[in-house]
């Protein structure tokens, strides 16, 4: 699927960039597949929402972003955090609820944040982060920093009010923000088509904000990169926001507890056959990359993930006295004298 964009495509990525995107996808996949196992082992508590199958969106966008561009993600945010360079041991530790977790065990899987990497948070109320990302873009615009905010969300999110408000205000303000709908075809258990008035939940709403309808194959990391680069540069140039709909699929259920049985077998099978990682591997192979190079990447990633897991496993539980810290900027949480 090509974007329907009429804007000139960005320059194609060179081979290093293509390998790097591959590596990011493998990192995400390896990290998350293992996280799911660790969930069943009882190490990951609460809930997790995996992006297995959707890695190309995270990898393609991250590759098109400047280091100081902002990412805003949902509870399904591990991929986006990792793609921006977030520390993997800290991420596992956060899923385990350990003291060395990215947020010291206070946030959990649904709220992964690495401000150091301009990964400005994972938001667990559907739609909330669209206005927030717009605000970061407004801030960049005001500060003339040249930064762009990229905001990832799901198809189901296109039906909530905050989506509408953020898109309109971003368009009016020509804010440097890229809204990326990862259309994985389902909200939780309900197919998006059953609850949405239009066929393309994001793209068919673009005109309502005087934006172009952009649809991209979200399982093709290079196609994503192309659309991302164009949208990010447009934003950086002061030409305003974009709304991108990336078609993709989650391999598993909505959250850790969901086997995803409501989905037709045929559909699942068809999408599994379009797994973005083997596809990119094949493309790199036909571009002349030898198998050993790719195998080395895979092995390096496996080692990195294993090391991260080990580090997190060895990390201590948080001490209860952190409970009353970091509510306020003074480090504490006192609300009265």
């Amino acid at each position: 699927m090509a974007g329907t964009s009429s804007r000139p495509a960005a320059a194609p990525p060179d081979i290093d960039a293509r390998l790097a995107m591959y590596r990011v996808m493998v990192e995400c996949r390896t990290f998350e597949v293992r996280a799911q196992e660790l969930f069943f082992e009882g190490l990951v508590r609460g809930t997790t929402h995996l992006g297995v199958g959707q890695e190309a969106v995270a990898a393609g966008f991250a590759a098109a972003m400047r280091d100081d561009d902002y990412s805003f993600a949902t509870y399904r945010g591990h991929n986006h955090a990792l793609a921006r360079g977030t520390d993997m041991a800290g991420l596992y530790a956060e899923l385990f609820g350990r003291a060395t977790g990215l947020m010291g065990g206070k946030g959990g899987s649904m709220h992964i944040t690495s401000a150091e990497h301009h990964m400005m948070g994972s938001y667990a109320i559907v739609g909330a982060h669209l206005p927030i990302a717009l605000g970061a873009a407004w801030s960049a615009q005001y500060r003339k920093s040249g930064q762009v905010a990229v905001c990832f969300f799901g198809d189901g999110t296109t039906n909530i009010g905050a989506f509408h408000e953020a898109l309109n205000m971003a368009a009016v303000w020509k804010a440097p923000v890229v809204f990326v709908c990862e259309n994985n075809q389902y909200m939780e258990y309900t197919p998006i088509g059953a609850v949405t008035a239009v066929a393309r939940p994001a793209a068919d709403r673009a005109a309502a904000y005087d934006l172009e309808a952009i649809v991209v194959d979200g399982n093709d990391v290079e196609a994503v990169f192309g659309v991302a680069a164009t949208a990010v540069e447009r934003a950086r140039a002061g030409d305003g926001p974009s709304l991108v709909e990336a078609l993709t699929y989650r391999h598993g259920g909505h959250s850790r507890a969901d086997p995803g049985k409501y989905r037709p077998d045929e559909e699942v099978k068809a999408w599994l056959a379009r797994d973005p990682i083997p596809a990119q591997r094949a493309r790199l192979r036909s571009a002349g990359v030898d198998a050993a190079t790719l195998d080395t990447i895979d092995a390096n990633v496996a080692a990195k993930v294993a090391a991260a897991e080990a580090a997190a496993r060895g990390a201590p539980e948080p001490l209860p006295d952190v409970i009353e810290t970091q509510l306020w900027a003074d480090g504490g949480s006192s609300w009265r004298n």
Binding site: K106, G108, G127
Partner: protein
């Protein structure tokens, strides 16, 4: 009598009322085909069909607003907010529209609806999926607020809530879903506004709600076993209407009041209880009123932190013991 889980009691309570009254309908995200993300509405779409059990988009304002419009015009809608934290997304509909419209129109319209929601902590879901928001609703004139602690009360209060001619916020506690209890056979109704004295005692009164009720009961057992303190435990069951007399009566007997609240401290529901007793029950009191609450912070997600932040049986036991001792 049948033994049901709290979880199954939700569907049973709704089904009982849907069988009785064809105007009772249910809407929400994934409530139909999926049977609810917590399996709280399982089986309902099968029995009542998709016209009466409707899956919605992720549009809480529209869900709650539509329930209001339907309630104004003859239906008895039950709308689900998947997590009580999401009330915030539809708060205008709840507090400015649903709560006020009957009053503003001087009774021209009635709004008989139930907004059900998975409330409370204990599942390591973190700050945006674990809140106890019954105190938010209690502060709004025009809302009734229910929070059952047992499967029998889930069924009975659900029936009362659906039959009630006014809007009811119905808090189903996530931490109790797996608990079991006897539910009377046949039609079961528990009137709104009647607290339950779960354990009689004369040394102090402990008022609790929802998931804090079993903790208070267990604490009372230990206080008695280990410290010879005989606590009376009251399950409030509904915050509005509030059974203030049940509390005042108990304090008259015990002269000591404790609340056990899951909500964060400032303006938790116990504050209102305390203020009522500090006025109307003042001369019954022998010693300070003590509130045992979650500290005034958001809920952390890590298991050790979440366990530490909520009032525990130990904290209740220790606080009651210590404060009774202090007052000697």
């Amino acid at each position: 009598m049948a033994e049901l889980t709290y979880r199954a009691a939700v569907a049973a309570g709704i089904a009982q009322e849907m069988r009785r009254d064809p105007m009772v309908v249910l809407i929400g995200e994934d409530v139909g085909a999926a049977g609810g993300v917590f399996k709280l509405t399982e089986g309902l779409i099968g029995e009542f069909g998709p016209e009466r059990v409707r899956d919605t988009p992720i549009s809480e304002q529209a869900i709650v607003g539509a329930a209001m419009g339907a309630a104004m015009t003859g239906l008895r809608p039950v709308a689900e907010l998947m997590f009580s934290d999401f009330f915030a997304v539809a708060w205008d509909m709840v507090v400015n529209q649903i709560a006020k419209t009957r009053y503003m129109t001087d009774g021209q319209v009635s709004i008989p609806l139930v907004l059900r929601t998975a409330n409370g902590a204990g599942l390591r879901f973190g700050a945006q999926h674990s809140q106890s928001v019954e105190n938010w609703a209690m502060a709004i004139p025009g809302l009734k607020v229910v929070a059952p602690s047992t499967p029998a009360d889930v069924v009975g209060l659900m029936a009362a809530a659906i039959r009630d001619p006014d809007p009811v916020i119905f808090c189903e506690h996530k931490g109790l879903f797996a608990t079991k209890g006897e539910v009377p056979d046949g039609e079961h109704i528990v009137p709104l506004g009647k607290a339950a004295v779960i354990r009689e005692g004369h040394d102090c009164t402990i008022v609790a709600l929802a998931a804090m009720v079993p903790r208070a009961v267990e604490a009372a057992g230990r206080l008695s076993d280990d410290h010879g303190i005989d606590a009376e435990v009251i399950d409030l069951r509904t915050l509005i209407p509030l059974d203030a007399q049940a509390i005042l009566r108990s304090v008259e007997k015990t002269s000591r009041l404790f609340t056990v609240e899951e909500n964060p401290r400032a303006l938790g529901w116990g504050a209102e209880i305390a203020s009522i007793v500090a006025d109307e029950g003042f001369y019954s009191l022998d010693a300070p009123i003590v509130r045992i609450t979650t500290p005034h912070v958001p809920l952390p997600s890590s298991a050790v932190l979440e366990d530490a932040v909520l009032p525990t049986v130990e904290r209740v036991v220790e606080t009651v013991r210590q404060r009774l001792e202090d007052a000697q």
